[in-house]
C-alpha cells in the first residue's frame, strides 16, 4: 500500500446540505474544509448547532489521546473543553497514517502527541479561519479584527455563536497555512487545571464501550483451544463431552491448525464447552526448550564475541578494559514478560448487508487489521470497516504486525456461514500463555576503571531474540544486521562514555515476541543505570555527581538529561539523604527524558517496601500536564511491578504461568506516593506513555542496593529480595 506522505500536515475543509463543517486532509494531501465528509478525511467536525467533535486517529488505551488531540482542536478553534466531544476515526491509512510510521495508521512508540501536534492544531486553526471569514463577509468587517472565544465569533462590535456560520464556512476553501495561536495565547495547552480527561465520565459509570462489551444481536462467541507449545498443531479433536451442552454450537480446527475454535451463544457457554473438549497435539514442529535452556544460551552468547557491532570496536575496547586497574564485570538477565492488559484480547466481526464486514476492535494498528481481514476473508479493503472502541490497556500487545487476534477472529468467522457476528474472547489464561512476550535478554558489561575510578572503557554485549527481524517492520528497524530495538538505550546513550563498544547477538526464536511498553529500553535502562551506580560505588562517587559528570552538556540530549536529574534530586532532597535509602536512575527514550528517585524501607533485615517515588519528566511542550503525570505514575508502577516479581517461564516449551495468581500484578499496597514534576519546555512534544517505565526498575534496584540489600542483576527481583 502506498500513501502520499505529507510532511507539512496540509489540511482541507468541506460543506454539505445539512450544514456541517469538516476540516481535515483532502485526497491531494492538502488542508481542506468542506460540508461533505467524503470530500476529505476530517480531524474536526462542526455540526449545524455548533457542536464540535474532534476525530481521533489514535486509539485510546488510557494514555490520553482522546483528551490531548481534543485539547489541540479546542485551543486553536477557540472553544471550551465542554463545547467539544470526540470520536474515533475509521480505518483509513491514506489519511490517518501516523507520520512517524509511514504508510499505516497506528498508535505506538509514544508517538500520538508528537505526530499529531501540528496536524490537529492546523485543522483547528483552519476551522477557526473559515468561520471567521464567513462572519467577516456577513458582517462586512475585517476578518483580522475577529477571533473565536469560548465558541463565539467576536470582534468589530459583533458577537455570534459559531453555529451561525457553519454553513457559510463550509463553502469556503481552507487556508493553505492557517495562522496558529502562539504560546502566549494558549488557554489550554500546558495550563494546569484547565483540562479534565474527556473519557472519565463514561469510565466511571459503566457506559464506556470496550471491545469486550460488544453485544450484537444473534452474535456467536468463539473461544480458542490454543496449542500449548509454539509450533504445535492440532492432531485430533474430541468434542463428545461438549455435545449437547446448552448454547454450544460447534468446534472446528482453525485452518492453520494452530488451535480449535469453539463456538457458543454466550461467553460462559463457550468457555465451558472449551473445558470439555479434548485436543491431541502434534508436537513434531513444536518448541520443546525450557526457559532455563534459553537463559543459558543467552548468557553464553554475551560471554562470546558478538555477531553484530552497532557501536565501537569490541576487540579494541575489550583489550583496553582488560588492561584497566579495576574491572566491574556483570551479567544481567531479563525474563520473558507478558503484557497482560486488564482487558483480555477480544474483537468482533459483524457481517454487513453488502457482503462485507465491520471489525469492532480496540484497534491499535487498524491498517494491519484491515489488511489481515481482507486477506483471510478474501474481501476487498473497501468492503471492510473498522470501528475503533476503547481498549482496556495494551502496553504494546494490541499492536502487532501479524494482527494475531484479528486474524484468529477472521479465521473463526470464516469457519461459520458468515451470517452471524462472531466475537472472539480470550480468557486471562489465553493471554498469559499466549505468546507475543517481551523477549528474554542477557547483557554482559565490563567497565574498566583507572586508578582514580574514572571510566576508561565500556564493553557492552547484548543477546536476545529480535522483535523486528522476520516481520514487516524489519526494513524499517533493522540496519546492518542490528535490530535497533534490541540495543536502543545503550548504543545511543546520551552519556559521554569514553571508549564504548556495543555488541549484539540474536538468538533463535523460542516464542513469539513483541514490543512491550518501552521495548528495548525495558532492559537497556536497567543495565546502564545499574552499572553506573556500581561504578559510583566502586569509585566512591556520588551517583548524581557521577551521572552529571557524564552529561557535560555537549549535546542537547545531555543538557536535557542533566536538567531532569537535577530537578529530581531537588524534589527528593538528594543531598540530605539522612537515613533514607534512595535510588536514582535516568533515561532517554521516545524523545523524552525521565529521572526518578525511589525511596525504599527495609532491605537489609526487613522486607523491602517502596515508600515513595519522585520523577521529573521533560517531554517537550506539555499539552496536558496532568495526563503526563498520570502516564509517568503508571509507567513507574508498571516498571517496578514487573521488575519486582514478573516472569514467564517455559517447561519443555509450555508456559508455566496461567493467570494473575502466578503472574501477580503490582498491587496498591506495593507502592507509596508518587510525585511527578513536568518540566517547562518549548521543544516539540515527545512521548509520555512509555518513558516512565525504563528508569523505574533501576531506580528501585539502586535503592535496594543502597539500603543494604542485594545488587539484583537477574530479574525478577523477587527471587533474591523479600518484598513487604
Amino acid at each position: 500500500m502506498t500513501v502520499r506522505m505529507n510532511r507539512r500536515g496540509f489540511i482541507a475543509t468541506a460543506a454539505a446540505a445539512a450544514a456541517v463543517l469538516y476540516v481535515g486532509i483532502s485526497p491531494n494531501g492538502a488542508l481542506a474544509a468542506s460540508g461533505d465528509a467524503t470530500a476529505l478525511n476530517p480531524f474536526v467536525r462542526i455540526d449545524a448547532d455548533g457542536r464540535v467533535t474532534a476525530i481521533i486517529k489514535h486509539f485510546e488505551m488510557g494514555q490520553g489521546p482522546s483528551t490531548g488531540l481534543t485539547t489541540l482542536i479546542a485551543e486553536e478553534l477557540g472553544v471550551t473543553m465542554d463545547q467539544i466531544g470526540f470520536e474515533f476515526a475509521p480505518s483509513d491509512p491514506q489519511v490517518y497514517n501516523n507520520l512517524a510510521f509511514g504508510p499505516m495508521q497506528g498508535t505506538g512508540g509514544s508517538t500520538a502527541m508528537a505526530n499529531s501536534f501540528m496536524q490537529y492544531r492546523n485543522a483547528g486553526a483552519a476551522a477557526r479561519q473559515v468561520l471567521i471569514e464567513a462572519a467577516a463577509a456577513e458582517w462586512d468587517v475585517d476578518a483580522a479584527g475577529l477571533d473565536i472565544v469560548d465558541g463565539r465569533i467576536t470582534g468589530g462590535g459583533k458577537s455570534a455563536p459559531i453555529a451561525d456560520f457553519v454553513a457559510a464556512a463550509a463553502a469556503l476553501p481552507a487556508p493553505a497555512e492557517p495562522r496558529l495561536r502562539g504560546p502566549d495565547e494558549w488557554r489550554l495547552i500546558g495550563k494546569e487545571g484547565t483540562v479534565k480527561r474527556k473519557d472519565t465520565p463514561a469510565k466511571i459509570d459503566g457506559t464506556a464501550q470496550f471491545a469486550m462489551d460488544m453485544q450484537l444481536d444473534d452474535q456467536l462467541v468463539v473461544v480458542i483451544v490454543h496449542a500449548p507449545r509454539m509450533g504445535a498443531t492440532v492432531a485430533s479433536v474430541d468434542t463428545s463431552a461438549a455435545d449437547g451442552m446448552s448454547g454450544f454450537a460447534m468446534a472446528k480446527p482453525l485452518p492453520d491448525n494452530s488451535g480449535v475454535a469453539v463456538f457458543a451463544d454466550t461467553t460462559w457457554q463457550a468457555i465451558r464447552a472449551r473445558d470439555a473438549i479434548t485436543v491431541e497435539w502434534d508436537n513434531s514442529a513444536a518448541e520443546m526448550r525450557s526457559s532455563d535452556q534459553i537463559r543459558d544460551e543467552l548468557i553464553a552468547a554475551v560471554s562470546d564475541t558478538s555477531t553484530w557491532a552497532p557501536k565501537g570496536d569490541q576487540a579494541q575496547v575489550a583489550a583496553a578494559v582488560e588492561g584497566a586497574a579495576k574491572v566491574i564485570d556483570r551479567t544481567f538477565y531479563f525474563p520473558l514478560l507478558a503484557h497482560a492488559p486488564m482487558e483480555p484480547l477480544t474483537c468482533t466481526i459483524e457481517p454487513t448487508d453488502n457482503g462485507g464486514v465491520i471489525l469492532h476492535d480496540g484497534a491499535q494498528f487498524p491498517t494491519f487489521g484491515h489488511m489481515t481481514l481482507s486477506q483471510v476473508l478474501d474481501l476487498p479493503m473497501e468492503k471492510i470497516a473498522i470501528r475503533t472502541v476503547m481498549a482496556g490497556g495494551s502496553f504494546g500487545r494490541r499492536a502487532n504486525a501479524t494482527s494475531d487476534y484479528n486474524r484468529e477472529c477472521a479465521m473463526a468467522f470464516a469457519l461459520t456461514d458468515r451470517s452471524r457476528p462472531v466475537k472472539l474472547v480470550w480468557t486471562r489464561e489465553d493471554d498469559i500463555k499466549g505468546g507475543y512476550y517481551r523477549p528474554a535478554f542477557a547483557h554482559r558489561v565490563r567497565v574498566g576503571l583507572n586508578d582514580r575510578g574514572g571510566i576508561i572503557g565500556w564493553d557492552h554485549r547484548i543477546a536476545g531474540q529480535s522483535i523486528m527481524k522476520g516481520t514487516s517492520m524489519e526494513q524499517m528497524a533493522v540496519h546492518d544486521g542490528v535490530d535497533h530495538s534490541s540495543v536502543e538505550g545503550v548504543a545511543d546513550t546520551p552519556y559521554a562514555v569514553p571508549s564504548m563498544s556495543v555488541g549484539l547477538s540474536d538468538v533463535e526464536k523460542a516464542t513469539s515476541v513483541l514490543w512491550w511498553r518501552s521495548v528495548g529500553h525495558s532492559h537497556t535502562a536497567y543495565v546502564m543505570e545499574s552499572m553506573i551506580d556500581m561504578v559510583a560505588q566502586e569509585s566512591g562517587a556520588d551517583p548524581l555527581a557521577l551521572r552529571l559528570s557524564m552529561l557535560p552538556g555537549e549535546t542537547p540530549a545531555q543538557t536535557r538529561m542533566a536538567s531532569v536529574l537535577k530537578a529530581v534530586a531537588d524534589m527528593a532532597d538528594w543531598s540530605n539523604t539522612g537515613d533514607r535509602a534512595l535510588g536514582l536512575a535516568v533515561h532517554h527514550s521516545f524523545g523524552s527524558f525521565v529521572a526518578q528517585v525511589a525511596q525504599v524501607s527495609g532491605g537489609k533485615d526487613a522486607p523491602v517496601r517502596i515508600e515513595k517515588v519522585f520523577a521529573a519528566v521533560d517531554c517537550g511542550i506539555a499539552v496536558n500536564p496532568d495526563v503526563i503525570r498520570a502516564q509517568i505514575e503508571g509507567g513507574i508502577g508498571f516498571g517496578m511491578g514487573h521488575a519486582m516479581r514478573n516472569q514467564i517461564t517455559l517447561t519443555e516449551g509450555e508456559v508455566d504461568q496461567f493467570n494473575f495468581p502466578d503472574y501477580e500484578p503490582l498491587r496498591i499496597s506495593d507502592i507509596g506516593a508518587i510525585e511527578v514534576q513536568v518540566m517547562a519546555s518549548a521543544e516539540a512534544p515527545s512521548g509520555v506513555g512509555e518513558p516512565g517505565v525504563p528508569p523505574a526498575g533501576p531506580a528501585l534496584a539502586n535503592a535496594i542496593a543502597r539500603a543494604g540489600g542485594p545488587r539484583v542483576t537477574e530479574l525478577p527481583m523477587m527471587t533474591q529480595v523479600d518484598f513487604a
Binding site: 466511571i204 459509570d205 459503566g206 453485544q215 454466550t266 490497556g393
Partner: protein, 153 residues
C-alpha cells in the same frame, strides 16, 4: 427461568446453575459495566455489591442469589457514597484505560460505607484485590480519601 433482584428491579434470567453472576450480568442482561479480567477472583474487575457487600461476581453463582439485592456500577450513582466516589474520581481524573475502574469504584464504595474515614493503610488493605494494570493506585488512594471528605462535608 429464575428471578434476580438487580439494581432495585426484579429481572428474569435463563442461565443454568453453575453460571457465574458475571456472565449473567454481561451476556444475558447486557449490562457491560461489570468487567471480566481474570475469572478466578484475582483482579476485582468484576466486583458488584451483594446486599451492599463488594463481591467478585466471577466466583458467585446464579443459583446462590435468592433474595439477594445485587448492585452494579450502572446503579451506583444512586447511592450517596457511590456518587461521592464518582465525584472524587472525576476531580482527580483517576482513570486511565478505565477497564478496572468499575471494580475499583464498587470496592471503594464498600469500604467507605463501612468505614467513612479510612487511613491510607486501611485503603491499601481493602483495595488490595483490585488490580489496576495501568497502576493508577496513588490516585485511587487519593480518590478514596477525597470521597471521604466529600461525604463528611
Amino acid at each position: 427461568m429464575r428471578e434476580l433482584r438487580l439494581n432495585g428491579k426484579t429481572v428474569k434470567v435463563e442461565a443454568e446453575n453453575g453460571t457465574p453472576l458475571l456472565w449473567v450480568i454481561r451476556d444475558e442482561l447486557k449490562l457491560t459495566g461489570t468487567k471480566f479480567g481474570c475469572g478466578v477472583a484475582a483482579c476485582g474487575a468484576c466486583t458488584v455489591h451483594l446486599d451492599g457487600e463488594p463481591t467478585r461476581s466471577c466466583q458467585t453463582y446464579v443459583e446462590d442469589l435468592d433474595g439477594v439485592e445485587i448492585t452494579t456500577i450502572e446503579a451506583i450513582s444512586g447511592d450517596q457514597v457511590g456518587a461521592a466516589v464518582q465525584q472524587a474520581w472525576t476531580e482527580l481524573d483517576v482513570v486511565q484505560c478505565g477497564y478496572c475502574q468499575s471494580g475499583q469504584i464498587m470496592s471503594a464504595v464498600g469500604l467507605l460505607t463501612s468505614n467513612p474515614s479510612p487511613t491510607a493503610e486501611e485503603i491499601d488493605t481493602h483495595m488490595w484485590g483490585n488490580a489496576c494494570r495501568c497502576a493508577t493506585y496513588q490516585r485511587i488512594r487519593a480518590g478514596v480519601q477525597r470521597a471521604a471528605e466529600i461525604l463528611e462535608a
